[in-house]
């Protein structure tokens, strides 16, 4: 199948219920194209989706997939990949799923460096619950639950990732279809945890972080002489509060994925014995 996979093969027959104009359409298209472009097909791909508008993505894509509980998509993805390193694992979620309820897992998924990609649809708002502040909302962003704004600084996912030992950090924009696809592809091809924060605007509940805002403010690192393998330069970039960047902010070219460190090189699905495995009796003798 893989020889002639088209990106539409990754599309399910369910029509998305996202609001017209939602950034998630573009985000998902780029993911499907990147998966097809990197030689994957739905039967060897496993998508893990979180909860929230973004979490619906598993339903609209066609592959092996699970739509989990809120905030726990990353450990599920890691478990899938460890148990079968032959699968292409992609985890997708939103800023609430990844940086609020799931923030603890984010740090440890970064540290673990399992070879999978993590696509976060960051719209800086809670959309599915109709417009409350998210962990990436601006300090003065007024919502029904934060009428004066959250009055606390937003989470900086890029800096958090770098501080946690990330081997691949990127940021993209859902409406820049080509660049977005390219960046997701790089994340897939990276040997380790490929993290992409995607600006995926919410047209219904966020009138600040809009398409126009990102179009006007994003600086594409590909247009500069920035070297993403330079960790010191990356530190500066991820902490730069004055600009929004697009592109790969950091990549460790010597990244060794978890599976390699731990000698995981084949699927654990098969059990080639109908009783206890060979050598199991030695386990009993050990207790003598």
């Amino acid at each position: 199948m893989s020889s002639e996979v088209r990106f539409t093969d990754f599309k399910s027959d369910k029509q998305p219920t996202w609001c017209p104009g939602c950034g998630d359409f573009g985000t998902m298209n780029g993911m499907m194209k990147a998966l097809a472009e990197t030689g994957n097909d739905p039967d060897n791909t496993f998508v893990v989706a979180g909860i929230g508008c973004s979490g619906k993505i598993g339903t609209y894509m066609h592959s092996y997939a699970i739509h989990g509980v809120h905030g726990r998509a990353l450990p599920v993805g890691a478990g899938v990949k460890m148990a079968n390193p032959d699968l292409e694992v992609m985890v997708a979620g939103g800023d609430g799923d990844g940086y609020s309820i799931g923030a603890g897992h984010f740090v440890h998924a970064v540290r673990r460096n399992v070879d999978m990609s993590y696509i976060v649809m960051d719209n800086r708002i809670y959309g599915l619950t109709k417009g409350q502040a998210s962990p990436t909302s601006r300090e003065d962003f007024e919502t029904s639950t934060t009428p004066e704004g959250p009055q606390q600084p937003p989470v900086n996912p890029l800096a958090l990732a770098l501080a946690s030992g990330a081997t691949f950090i990127a940021q993209s924009f859902s409406s820049d279809a080509l660049r977005h696809q390219e960046i997701v592809q790089q994340a897939i091809e990276h040997d380790g945890f490929g993290f992409v924060n995607v600006f995926s605007p919410c047209v219904t509940f966020n009138d600040v972080d809009t398409y126009d805002y990102f179009r006007d403010s994003l600086v594409d690192l590909a247009d500069t002489d920035y070297d993403p393998t330079d960790r010191e330069a990356a530190k500066e970039k991820v902490l730069d509060a004055d600009k929004e960047y697009m592109g790969v902010l950091y990549q460790d070219e010597n990244s060794v994925p978890y599976e390699e460190t731990h000698g995981l090189d084949s699927s654990m699905a098969e059990i080639d014995h109908e009783g206890a495995p060979e050598g199991a009796t030695d386990l009993v003798r050990e207790f003598y």
Binding site: F46, R72, H105, F287, Y288
Partner: protein, 588 residues
């Protein structure tokens, strides 16, 4: 002279109590003696005190008793804590050169063996071996052949090199000789005879880990928690030899989700924790059931709620395992009743999980999880292990479970409730799985008819299991007795020993030990046939008693213990006798 012998070593946490106790238990086991150990007596004074107690006999031993024949006391408190268990003729081994032990008074009628443990250990090569000197002294005091201790020392220290083993053997000998030379006239009446029997010594956590490997489990994710950590410690370094992997997760939320991921990828997968971790896992447990994922979740119960008493016994999580989680979650709850059964129920848990594609709780409890016991090696006969993976489809059979347009149906409505399972990588099997209500293809739905069909289908799996599986209780005692005693979990061994005490008082009882808590056997007929039903469990409210009252629509009497210590046979016999005699109805 008693048929069984009771020995203990006690001191402060950090004194190496557990490892010393285990070395002695292993020596007894290698000498062909049965052993039943217990750890960490409830302190009557304050925290910090810890002890390892060994009950041994040439016959099978199944519980702890309130008697100590030989005590190695590293602190004065060790003696104070055990005054009730010590008796006339008990031997207390201590180091009078230790400042805190200099003025220690040996209670009247007992024999104090003042052995310079530290000095002798230094003579043998290092003060760190002072507990081993005490073991040598204990060998002399009990006429126990020190070569068995040598053999155990070699097993425990062999990894550290021959020199360390030799030093330890020497330390033991110095202890032995010291007692021989300095207490020639002491009335040391114990004589630990040996047999040619071949036993293995292990605890429940280890049996669960070994059961998992035997069952083909390849993936374990867990977060350290007393008393479940030994499961992970056991698997680490062993499961890899069978193609598996152990992950220490960042928390229990991650642990169950990692395990879920591996299970979705097709691996036999497991996590183990204790009460606080079970609370955290409850949300994902519902997802596991709704997405119809086979997963084994072990709860090694300890005293709760909240942090409770982390190193104490309790069977307080039954309701959590039966009902925990929002919504209605089909599940299995198995409760091994012995260390041996920890192995077999783990194997069974994996088969049930895959045959019925639903999560299985394995409910173990502290009293059997962290205490070593001896068994015939045949108790863990690997040739008797069977693996049944249920309805897994391959690339050929998958066509029978697809829609006209080729969509695979992982939640196909079937007569037995079990749907086909496609392992990722199987061509034509790509599908969505979700905690949302879904149609046969796993796609989200709120269709009222499909909702009912899917709920019924998932629940039907439990009904199918009731028809196909054998969920009988284990039976002991007099089958014709009018007195029925019902128990679950690790109380079984104590109950079997309590039978003897009851017989001495001419009380006959029939014991049903229930290893299947959901689905569970229908005990209505057994209850109707009995004049009295007593339910024994280690919790305050009688959670299992409530459940069987509900099942059988009959009132039961209750024996509950929740002070953190497991039942003892004589005490339990008394409790049962008193409860049978009382006409009192329980408070409803």
């Amino acid at each position: 002279m008693p048929a069984d012998f009771n020995w203990a070593i006690g001191g402060e946490a950090g004194d190496g109590i557990d490892s010393t106790g285990k070395v002695f238990a292993q020596a007894l086991s290698r000498a062909g003696r049965h052993v039943f150990t217990s750890k960490d007596f409830a302190s009557r004074i304050r925290g910090g005190y810890t002890a390892y107690k060994v009950r041994t006999s040439t016959e099978k031993v199944r519980s702890v008793v309130d008697r100590l024949d030989v005590l190695v006391a590293l602190t004065p408190r060790t003696i104070e804590e055990n005054l009730d268990e010590l008796h006339e003729g008990s031997i207390i081994i201590y180091d009078g050169e230790r400042t805190t032990m200099a003025d220690v008074e040996i209670p009247e009628g007992m024999i104090g063996l003042d052995v310079p443990l530290k000095s002798l250990a230094e003579d043998a090569g290092g003060a760190v071996m002072r507990n081993v000197v005490a073991l040598g002294a204990a060998c002399e005091a009990t006429s126990f052949d020190i070569e068995h201790l040598d053999s155990s020392l070699k097993k425990h220290f062999g990894g550290k090199g021959q020199a360390i083993v030799d030093n330890n053997k020497q330390a033991a000998r110095l202890g032995q000789e010291y007692v021989r030379d300095n207490y020639p006239d002491a009335d040391l009446q114990y004589d630990l005879e040996t047999t040619d029997n071949d036993y293995v010594l292990l605890n429940g956590d280890e049996a669960i880990g070994m059961g998992a490997i035997a069952a083909g489990c390849k993936y374990y994710a867990g977060y350290p928690i007393t008393p479940a950590t030994d499961v992970m410690t056991y698997l680490k370094g062993r499961i890899e030899q069978f193609g598996g992997h152990v992950v220490q997760a960042e928390d229990e939320l991650a642990a169950i989700n990692l395990a879920l991921g591996a299970a979705r990828a097709g691996a036999r997968s497991m996590t183990a924790t204790s009460g606080p971790g079970i609370d955290l896992m409850a949300e994902t447990f519902g997802l596991v059931a709704t997405s119809e994922t086979p997963l084994v979740v072990v709860d090694v119960m300890r005293s709760g709620p909240s942090t409770g008493m982390p190193t104490k016994q309790e069977q307080g999580d039954l309701n959590m395992m039966l009902y925990g989680g929002h919504g209605e979650i089909p599940r299995f709850v198995l409760a091994p009743t012995t260390v041996e059964e920890c192995f077999w129920k783990t194997v069974e848990a994996f088969n049930l999980a895959e045959k019925y594609q639903t999560p299985v709780y394995l409910a173990a409890d502290l009293a059997m999880a962290v205490t070593e016991q001896t068994f015939e090696p045949d108790a863990f006969d690997m040739d008797a292990v069977e693996i049944d993976r249920g309805k897994v489809v391959d690339e050929e059979s998958i066509a029978d479970h697809q829609t006209e347009s080729g969509g695979f149906k992982p939640h196909e409505i079937t007569e037995d409730g079990v749907s086909p399972r496609a392992i990722p990588g199987t061509e034509g099997g790509a599908h969505m799985s979700t905690g949302l209500e879904h149609d046969e293809q796993g796609r989200r739905t709120e269709d009222t008819e499909m909702r009912v069909e899917q709920v019924d289908k998932r629940n039907r799996k439990i009904q199918t299991a009731r028809e196909r599986e054998d969920f009988s209780p284990r039976e002991f005692g007099d089958p014709d007795s009018d007195n029925l005693v019902v128990s679950w979990g690790s109380n079984e061994g104590t109950l079997v020993e309590a039978l003897e005490f009851l017989q001495e008082e001419d009380i006959d009882v029939r014991i049903l030990s229930v290893p299947y808590l959901f689905p569970r056997p229908d005990l209505t007929e057994e209850f109707e046939a009995a004049d009295d039903v007593v339910v024994v469990e280690c919790n305050a409210t009688g959670q299992f008693a409530d459940v069987v009252e509900h099942d059988t629509l009959q009132r039961v009497k209750r024996v509950n213990k929740y002070n953190g210590v497991q039942f003892k046979a004589d005490e339990l016999a008394d409790d049962i006798k008193r409860t049978l005699a009382s006409g009192q109805e329980v408070e409803a």
